[in-house]
């Protein structure tokens, strides 16, 4: 095997790595649909969700926790199916893992102090979306994150806004639309 052949082997092997962003798009779409549905259900049926203080807390903790178990399982299965993990996959996994822990922390603090966690979670989510968009170089996700950040900042100055509707509008524009465009983009490898 001569030097040219060795270089060709190295080049071919490295070029076989493909970055598939479809699973990330699926995760964004899944979470936005879950949270939007939960917010709408809470908005239209407050008597069911809020029949006691703890019922609302259980509603907003148990369903997202089930969602976390489902998406973790989906991501593990998908990782096995793809067969390899790139450095970019690892970075995205860490960022969203940190978001998951931060979400638990924010929800726990808000339960202790009896305040709504919506704006804090949306603020954190917008930052994570901007970071993700910049890392994967996908403008729709970055723009969605910036839009969500502006919308969240605006909601801080308008205390009359219903936070459940803030959730619905913010996540639709900031997460669902960019997630769908990431999921359905033709050339994402």
């Amino acid at each position: 095997m001569n030097k040219e052949e060795q270089l060709r082997i190295i080049n071919n092997a490295i070029n076989q790595t493909k970055q598939n962003l479809k699973p990330l798009g699926y995760n964004l779409v899944f979470w936005s649909i879950v949270v939007i549905s939960m917010s709408l259900f809470h908005y239209f049926f407050p008597q069911i969700v809020q029949f006691s203080y703890y019922s609302a807390a259980i509603y907003w903790i148990s369903i997202p926790l089930l969602g976390m178990i489902y998406t973790t399982n989906y991501n593990i299965k998908n990782g096995i199916k793809v067969g390899y993990e790139t450095q970019l996959d690892r970075v995205i996994k860490i960022i969203w893992g940190v978001f998951g822990f931060a979400w638990i922390f924010i929800v726990a603090i808000s339960l202790i102090y009896k305040v709504s966690p919506v704006q804090d979670v949306l603020f954190l989510l917008s930052i994570v979306l901007i970071m993700t968009g910049l890392i994967i170089k996908f403008n729709n996700v970055t723009i969605g994150g910036i839009g969500l950040l502006i919308f969240t900042a605006y909601s801080y100055y308008n205390p009359v806004m219903n936070l459940l509707l803030v959730n619905v509008v913010g996540l639709s524009l900031g997460m669902l639309v960019p997630g769908l465009s990431l999921y359905f983009q033709k050339n994402n490898e």
């Binding site: 040219e4 190295i10 092997a13 490295i14 096995i80 067969g83 390899y84 993990e85 450095q87």
Partner: protein
């Protein structure tokens, strides 16, 4: 770079495997079979040699009762590959 590593990477299957592993964080056995166009038995022997030389890590575990094996490049493996690649480019 030492002669032993150079000799180790002279084998095309080992070179393909380590070249792919340098571009990913980790990968499974099935992917490496596809990448190296090798048989299970042969690939297994070549990967064992890379592991014994400290160039790759092998992690065995169970997922849903199925045995899985992940391969990743070590720090020593990265350094050796970079030196090997640098020398290769200089000689070219």
């Amino acid at each position: 770079m030492n002669k032993e590593t150079e000799k180790l990477l002279f084998n095309p299957i080992r070179l393909k495997a380590i070249s792919f592993l340098i571009s990913v964080e980790k990968c499974n056995f099935k992917t490496l079979i596809d990448i190296t166009d090798s048989t299970k038995g042969n690939l297994s022997i070549q990967l064992k040699k890379l592991n014994e030389a400290g160039l790759i890590d092998i992690k065995k575990y169970f997922h849903n009762s199925y045995p899985r094996t992940d391969y990743s490049i070590t720090k020593k493996g990265k350094k050796s590959f970079e030196e090997f690649f640098k020398e290769l480019k200089l000689l070219k």
